[in-house]
């Protein structure tokens, strides 16, 4: 598992990258009440806003961590946004991306480095 400074986790599944938000991020957001997912087959660039999350407190975005194509989204989150708080690192993944080269993930933090970041 890899981690971004935007508090996303990235997990390799076959040749795909699965993206979600960390428990720390979910706690900071508070109760999630709305999730807007991208269309599949969308080609995105690193830093693009691809998901909108609304909590009881505020709106925030999930950014595409790397260049690639969205190939799957977790539609369960649309009907049950609270899953993001209940199981952020498991069943509450947001989208899966196809990337040219999985080595692109080497730039991101490992778990120890991420834990240092959130202190």
């Amino acid at each position: 598992m890899k981690y971004t400074e935007e508090h996303e986790w990235l997990r390799i599944e076959g040749d795909l990258v699965v993206v979600g938000i960390t428990e720390h991020a979910a706690t900071q957001l508070g109760d999630v009440v709305f999730v807007e997912l991208p269309e599949t087959e969308t080609v995105v660039a690193a830093g693009d806003e691809v998901v909108v999350i609304e909590s009881v407190k505020a709106a925030s975005d999930i950014l595409a961590p790397v260049d690639g194509e969205i190939v799957a989204v977790n539609a369960k989150l649309v009907d049950n946004p609270g899953l993001v708080n209940e199981d952020p690192t498991g069943s509450a993944w947001f989208f899966k991306m196809k990337v040219d080269d999985l080595d692109v993930l080497d730039q991101f933090m490992d778990e120890d480095e991420y834990n240092d970041l959130i202190g």
Binding site: G30, D31, V33, F34, E36, E54, V56, K57, A59
Partner: protein, 373 residues
């Protein structure tokens, strides 16, 4: 947060796991570990305890009799002060010369004086306003040594009555003074969540013991500002500085229920308050714009600042408060639209992330109120 003031119960909030954020010049608990959603729902199903000690508590003591004081106070508000009987509280609004709102407040007749509670962000200005206008008829005493605790929800009566049994007999907007373990409690049966409940002013020295005695009961949980906001929004209640301000009149804001007959055209003391020409004219002819309840379609909340449009693209106004209503289980909002768009059921649009999405003008409160009338 060094230049922020701390509540008398600051250490207790930290002990309870409160997340402290700046609000109106104070470090305030925005939520506790349960989180906004659970705190909101707990208040609606049991009892929530809110520390609102940042609000201003003021006593107006008459210099030349209560009648002169009440009439002086009436010059600042389109509200019947003289007709408020002893032991009762009423909602009031300070208006300015152009009919806008300087602050909203609660005031109570306590026999030989009036007790007033004003918003935290406005309290210094309010005290200056009172001293400037009531100097001849009242001593204006700003109370800095009392906490203010709100206890709200269907379990509030049982929770407070466990300490002070006599409060059970109070009705909505009654006020009374009770003694608990040597502390003088100033109790009103009111609040700002749409629920039955109480607000209790307690001397700072006795406040921690009082709050711990309430929190020691299973039904009572501490509630932060986050849930306070979603609760009052579902109840359709205005937040000063957002839904009402110096540019909105009480009539536009839909607060005409707060303007009693005595102060309206043909009433015993019609007019005579700041901004009367505009306010009386709007009462007679209807306002140009109105605060309305809004229900966004779908689940995406529309928050303060979202711009509103007619379906033909005509700009209408803005959302002044909005968010997700945990009890409504849907987004709710309020905002201002021209009177011709204010009818319940009218479909308009709000611009969210570059897209125009539909909202329906809806009745408020969004969640039924349960005041003990």
């Amino acid at each position: 947060m060094s230049n922020l003031k701390r509540l008398g119960l600051h250490d207790l909030h930290v002990e309870l796991g409160g997340k402290m954020v700046p609000f109106a010049g104070y470090e305030m608990p925005v939520q506790y570990p349960a989180g906004v959603m659970k705190e909101h729902l707990h208040t609606r199903s049991a009892a929530g305890l809110f520390d609102v000690s940042h609000m201003g508590q003021v006593i107006l003591r008459p210099k030349r009799g209560m009648e002169a004081l009440c009439l002086g106070f009436e010059a600042l508000m389109p509200v019947d002060v003289l007709g408020l009987v002893e032991g009762r509280q009423r909602y009031g609004l300070f208006t300015n010369e152009t009919g806008g709102i300087l602050d909203d407040l609660m005031f109570a007749n306590r026999g030989d004086h009036l007790f007033v509670v004003v918003n935290a962000a406005c309290k210094e200005a309010d005290v200056a306003h009172l001293r400037a206008h009531l100097g001849d008829v009242a001593e204006v005493e700003f109370l800095a040594d009392r906490a203010l605790i709100a206890l709200q929800g269907p379990g509030a009566e049982a929770a407070l009555a466990a300490l002070v049994p006599d409060v059970a007999a109070m009705r909505f907007m009654d006020v009374g003074i009770f003694l608990w373990q040597g502390a003088t409690l100033w109790v009103s049966r009111s609040g700002y969540t749409g629920e039955d409940g109480f607000e209790v002013s307690v001397p700072e020295a006795g406040a921690e013991g009082f709050v711990r005695a309430l929190l020691g009961q299973d039904r009572v949980a501490p509630i932060g500002l986050g849930a306070r906001d979603s609760l009052r929004l579902e109840a359709g209640l205005c937040l000063y500085g957002h839904d009402i301000d110096t540019t909105t009149s009480p009539v536009e804001a839909g607060l005409t229920w707060a303007i009693q007959k005595a102060r309206r055209a043909g009433g015993a003391r019609a007019g005579g308050f700041a901004g009367a020409p505009r306010i009386l004219q709007e009462l007679a002819d209807g306002p140009e714009r109105c605060r309305v309840g809004l229900r966004p379609e779908g689940r995406a909340p529309m928050r303060e600042g979202v711009e509103l449009f007619a379906t033909d693209g005509t700009p209408l106004g803005k959302i002044t408060s909005g968010g997700f209503g945990p009890s409504v289980e849907a987004p709710v909002a309020m905002g201002y639209v021209p009177a011709s768009y204010a009818k319940t059921g009218t479909v308009i649009e709000g611009e969210l992330r570059g897209k125009r999405l539909p909202l329906t003008v809806a009745e408020m409160p969004f969640h039924p109120t349960t005041y003990k009338r």
